[in-house]
């Protein structure tokens, strides 16, 4: 059993997002369920990392713990060096259920503006940020519409615009394109990469779609099935300029995605041994 190790950045600067030994145990009638056993990884500033795993690998649990929406049972999450205990200020989340994450009684513009309004950002500056965000997702022509008047893809763009306008340091995305049709998904994937390059924001992108994870990410972290640990941390050495047509046709793309696919199949077979976890732990800075 070999573990494909990555060339983890041995930097002296503090990683933007640092997860150490994250564990989550659910107490349900009948006993305890360990959803996540031990998650340990770092995200450097400005990285775009994808998290992929089989269903039931606790991806949503993990995201909720990292975003401060749920308390973990043990382990730490640090954002730019400070401990995450509740939803941190410089983090934004984009959820899968776009229909339920936007306020149906507010227009598109009001939705995007709300987090800024809440932070007491002055009006002129707010307007500028909102305009820029709507423009960057291609929705500057529908500010007065209501979310439910828009298609699914457009609604998700609104949610993304809201996160962009907020100017977070870290953007968490929880399978944001899972509920959207394939054509729209391709457009949105490119949108993410564009925004990422424009803003230089650190993105943790959770998905179940293997192709998507390889297409988008600079790194792909493969999760095992529950009780979840990091099965593999794979560097995606595809060119920085990617597009749907050409990149996906590259032989190296095929190799990478096959590799990830194989890893996920392995992950489905059963929980990973302590040995692998220990090995990984040892290779990361404390």
């Amino acid at each position: 059993m070999t573990v494909n190790e990555t060339t983890t950045r041995q930097t002296t600067t503090v990683p933007m997002l640092s997860v150490r030994g994250l564990q989550k145990v659910y107490k349900v009638p009948g006993g305890d369920v360990e959803a996540v056993r031990d998650l340990t990884f770092d995200l450097a500033e400005g990285e775009l990392v994808c998290l992929v795993g089989p269903s039931g690998s606790g991806k949503t649990t993990l995201l909720k713990c990292i975003s401060g929406l749920m308390e973990q049972s043990s382990g730490t999450v640090e954002l730019a060096g400070s401990n995450v205990t509740g939803p941190p200020k410089s983090m934004a989340v984009v959820f899968q259920e776009y229909g339920r994450s936007l306020f149906p009684w507010m227009t598109v513009r009001a939705n995007v503006e709300l987090p800024l309004k809440n932070q007491k950002v002055p009006k002129a500056q707010r307007a500028a940020l909102v305009d820029a965000a709507l423009k960057s997702v291609g929705l500057d022509h529908v500010p007065k519409s209501y979310p439910w008047q828009l298609s699914g893809g457009m609604q998700q763009r609104v949610a993304i615009a809201r996160a962009v306008a907020y100017r977070p340091q870290v953007l968490l995305m929880d399978e944001p394109f899972a509920a959207v049709d394939a054509q729209t998904r391709a457009d949105l994937e490119d949108l993410i990469r564009t925004i990422w390059k424009q803003l230089g924001v650190t993105i943790l992108f959770v998905t179940h779609d293997i192709d998507e994870s390889v297409y988008l990410g600079e790194r792909v972290i493969v999760l095992s099935s529950s009780p979840t640990v990091v099965q593999e941390d794979l560097k995606i050495d595809l060119p920085a300029e990617r597009d749907q047509l050409n990149t996906r046709a590259l032989p190296h793309f095929m190799e990478l995605r096959s590799h990830v696919y194989a890893e996920i199949q392995r992950a489905k077979l059963g929980p990973v041994t302590e040995q692998i976890t220990a090995q990984r732990r040892a290779s990361l800075p404390e």
């Binding site: 659910y26 107490k27 349900v28 009638p29 006993g31 305890d32």
Partner: protein, 267 residues
Amino acid sequence: MRKRRRASAGPQARALGLGVSGIILFFVVWEATPRLGLVRERYLPPASEVLVRLGRYLGEASFWKDVADTMTSWALGLLIATVAAIIVGLIIGSSRFLRRATHTTIEFLRPIPSVALIPLAVLIFGTSIESTLLLVVYAAFWQVLLQLLYGIADVDAVANDTAKSYGLGPLARVRYVVWPTALPYLMTGLRLAAAVALILAITAELIIGTPGLGKQIALTQSGGAISSMYALVLATGMIGVLINLAARIIEKRVLAWHPSVRGEVVL
């Protein structure tokens, strides 16, 4: 409230414990308020006095006769109203023309408060049970009818058309397509009607003086038997609670298969 089992036996037991303490707290406050002189004892007897009187009532035959009178007009009125509403509802609901034609009439008649009929009831029926029935039936009828009409309107057109194309006649369609869709609405209507029927039954007894708990409450109040009055108020409240509970239990049983009652299981 000790947790006997691990984990999630806790929160439910805690909720129950809080609920019970709420009730106890209420009675404590009720007991203290007149005793501390915050309100004249004449107007608000202490809880203990009222509870004792209520206990005595439970042993008196006249009390149970009043309960029976109230419950009889309640049940009878509810029954008549439900049957009438189902018949009218099915007739109206079965045809788009009828639905449209009756819409304004229903919207006009519906908001008329049933208490407006009190003088009429007194005039025609005096203080006999028919007076109460007039009010109860009128109020309960609308509750059931409206919910039933909502339910019939909610029938999936595709399902209905499919049934038609398979040669199911109107009666069969009612049984297999309309009824299952409308049933939850009907249950809601019944639950609302049951509560409204109690209110109107008591109202009729209170104002008109037909025999029942409402009449007794009016008598005790005018006669100065204040603890008795409060005891009877508690009794009607408890009957109301029992009716609500029964309606909910029946609703759950009848609709056990229905997704709206089953609820989602979210992990």
